[in-house]
């Protein structure tokens, strides 16, 4: 089989992994090939609108496991292929030199056993770094069940490592993938986190000390393949952020590929709206200083599909509004619908020079058609009239967003 055919199979097999970030790693040029900039660079956008920044491929789509949700499961009748390390290195370098990509995102099905697979992956990244002096970005999957020493070795050559949890609760994981359990996934995550913490103080004392996974680790959760609630999903994510110091949790709306498996829901379309709401909630936790229990709790276990989670929060908490633009602190400003982290900081810097008018707010990028119901500033007085009651506001915002919400984006309830 030639390279182009292999690439076709192994790119198709890797496409369901949604991560593509290249941020968080600064690699200065070494005189060889490549650099990484901390903001990250996307190089293209695929027909589904997702960014292409890394060459995202599987090393092989052969797999010894039979997880119900995975397109590459053992019992699926699909074409299989495997790269040699040399082929993969060659493609990476040639794509990189043409400025197609920022680097490599290498994942793999498990062939023979986890140790064998992890050793092959490590060989690719070592060859790239040591033989070809490749200094671009590398994101590597850690294979659950592989020996600690192998994962620790690979961590020295890559920018980011990730282990996918895929199913947001252990009981459902065991139902869909009887050969797996949470421990096998969480264990490498703890290991990576520990190793990162070990290397940090060393680097503080001596700069040339090696970096261990400098761009941190990430994971992915499949949404809609199991009946897990948004509360479960977001609590898990919040724990991963705080306990394992993950940089990112990705949410991937389930796409019904393995149609013959009756354990899976027959979704007509992936639950894109729910996925979008989860990302919004995730952003609230990472950039807006929200705690997970402020977004979902036992009484509201699922996110409102019709309203974004921040607006929903604002309508549940009328007591904190209206917010005075001239006096409120950053934490409070970030809670106002229509104000983002950028505009909140612009407000802080602009109000040192004087009063901030609603015209200026608009110019700063504040979405006034939302924010104006929740703030007071120079010419917008406090509004206590019944027009601005939560129920009324909800109806008003719904009317506007109802058009966007077509029935097929709502997930079917099958459980």
């Amino acid at each position: 089989m030639d390279k182009i055919e292999k690439l076709k199979i192994l790119a198709s097999a890797a496409k369901y992994d949604v991560s593509c970030a290249t941020s968080g790693s600064q690699r200065e040029s070494t005189g060889g090939l490549g650099s990484a900039v901390s903001a990250g660079i996307c190089h293209s956008f695929a027909d589904d609108g997702r960014c292409i920044s890394l060459l995202k491929v599987l090393f092989t789509n052969h797999c010894i496991y039979d997880c119900a949700y995975c397109a590459n499961r053992r019992n699926n009748d699909i074409p299989r292929a495997a790269f040699t390390p040399e082929e993969l290195v060659d493609i990476t370098i040639n794509f990189y030199r043409r400025n197609y990509i920022e680097g490599l995102f290498l994942s793999s099905g498990v062939m023979r056993n986890p140790d064998y697979t992890m050793a092959r992956l490590t060989k690719v990244v070592k060859d790239l770094r040591l033989v070809h002096r490749f200094n671009g970005y590398i994101h590597l999957k850690a294979i659950p069940g592989a020996d600690d020493a192998l994962i620790r070795e690979a961590g020295l050559y890559v920018d980011r490592m990730s282990v996918n949890i895929e199913i947001p609760s252990e009981e459902n994981l065991k139902y869909l993938a009887p050969e797996k359990d949470y421990n096998s996934v969480l264990q490498p995550m703890h290991l990576i986190n520990e190793a990162q913490q070990e290397y940090l103080p060393v680097r503080r004392n001596s700069k040339p000390a090696p970096k261990f996974v400098p761009a941190g680790q990430s994971t992915q959760l499949i949404i809609g393949a199991t009946p897990d609630s948004d509360n479960q999903v977001l609590r898990l994510a919040s724990n991963l952020y705080t306990e394992n110091r993950l940089k990112r949790v990705y949410y991937s709306g389930y796409i019904h590929t393995n149609t013959s498996d009756s354990r899976l829901p027959a979704l007509v379309a992936p639950p894109l709206k729910r996925e979008n709401r989860l990302y919004q909630a995730d952003w609230l936790m990472r950039f807006y200083e929200f705690r997970v229990d402020e977004i979902v709790d036992d009484t509201h276990p699922d996110l409102d599909l019709e309203l974004d989670p921040k607006l929903a929060y604002a309508l549940r908490h009328p007591e904190i509004f209206p917010v005075d633009i001239q006096k409120a602190n950053l934490h409070t400003l970030l809670r106002v619908p229509g104000i983002g982290p950028k505009s909140a900081r612009l407000i802080l810097s602009a109000r040192r020079y004087g009063n901030v008018s609603s015209y200026l707010l608009k110019k700063m990028g504040v979405v006034m058609k939302r924010a104006r119901f929740f703030i007071t500033c120079r010419e917008l007085g406090g509004r206590k009239a019944p027009d601005y009651q939560p129920d009324h506001l909800r109806m008003m915002f719904l009317d506007k967003s109802a058009r966007k919400l077509t029935p097929d984006t709502v997930q079917l309830k099958l459980f």
């Binding site: 390279k3 182009i4 690439l7 076709k8 790119a11 198709s12 890797a14 496409k15 369901y16 200065e28 040029s29 005189g31 060889g32 090939l33 490549g34 650099s35 900039v37 660079i41 996307c42 190089h43 293209s44 956008f45 695929a46 027909d47 589904d48 609108g49 997702r50 960014c51 292409i52 060459l55 995202k56 493609i91 040639n94 794509f95 030199r97 043409r98 400025n99 197609y100 796409i255 379309a269 992936p270 894109l272 612009l346 810097s349 602009a350 020079y353 004087g354 901030v356 200026l360 110019k363 700063m364």
Partner: protein, 253 residues
């Protein structure tokens, strides 16, 4: 109102600044060469003088800091009409009122200045994203670009450090000039070879390296197969990757 007409270069702009303060005459405007003078307006043609420009440049750095110098340069590169007014406003505050207002977004001019700078920097980043090299028969890597603003010089450090071991040539097909890097230093060039198509910047097949087409085909195939059909979203794709970039994108040609 006196119009100071400069030659369109950055030193020319700085020379005009010098003359305005030299003559001590406001109200004044600095206008680019393509603007026709109004019937009842006095227009002074400014001669570009490097020593004067240098003095203004140093003066700005001293009063406003290096960062302000850079920001003025960025905004200047936009070449949008009216940016001279915004820049002059900031310089007037700096020199006459001894105030660096560049951070005060509550001032309309400063806000527009900041937004203009953001647009220019975004264009720089888009070159990082969408530039595509092709290997020529002699091993040089060639990339045609057509940025909205004249930002090619601002990208050189990035490409030099990233592709430091390959010789490359980046050519701006809008402004008809480029930069050549021989794996040691970067120099500005123009291309006079009549066989080269300056409008499109496209390389004829025979000028490409033997396996260039094979790699391009592989990239196109990768591009096609990495997309998830069930999630097709052409609108989102165009939003992130506007059509004006497609003509130089291997995967979209």
């Amino acid at each position: 109102m006196i119009n100071y007409q400069y030659d369109g270069t950055f030193p020319g702009f700085l020379s005009a600044v010098f003359e305005i303060w030299d003559r001590g005459r406001f109200p004044a405007r600095i206008v680019p060469p393509e603007v026709a003078p109004g019937l009842f307006e006095e227009t002074i043609e400014v001669k570009t003088a490097d020593d004067r420009a240098g003095r203004v440049w140093k003066g700005i750095a001293k009063a406003g800091g290096k960062q302000l110098c850079q920001r003025l340069m960025h905004v200047f590169l936009s070449r949008e009409s009216g940016v001279e007014d915004l820049m002059l406003f900031i310089l007037r505050q700096l020199f006459d009122n001894k105030k660096n207002v560049a951070g005060d977004l509550s001032v309309e001019e400063v806000l527009r200045f900041t937004q203009m700078e953001r647009k220019v920097l975004r264009e720089v980043h888009r070159l990082y994203m969408f530039l595509r090299f092709e290997q020529t028969a002699d091993g040089t890597w060639f990339a045609p670009v057509s940025p909205k603003y004249d930002v090619l010089p601002m990208t050189l450090n990035h490409f030099e450090s990233r592709f430091s071991d390959q010789s490359w040539l980046i050519y701006d097909t809008v402004r008809k000039y480029g930069y050549y890097y021989d794996a040691k230093v970067v120099e500005e060039i123009t291309i006079d070879n009549p066989a080269f198509d300056k409008e499109t910047g496209s390389l004829p097949l025979e000028a490409q390296s033997a396996d260039e087409q094979q790699w391009q085909q592989m990239w196109r195939s990768y591009f096609k197969h990495i997309a998830i059909k069930e999630r097709a979203n052409p609108r989102l794709q165009r939003q992130f990757m506007p059509k004006r970039f497609w003509k130089h994108l291997t995967e979209k040609r």
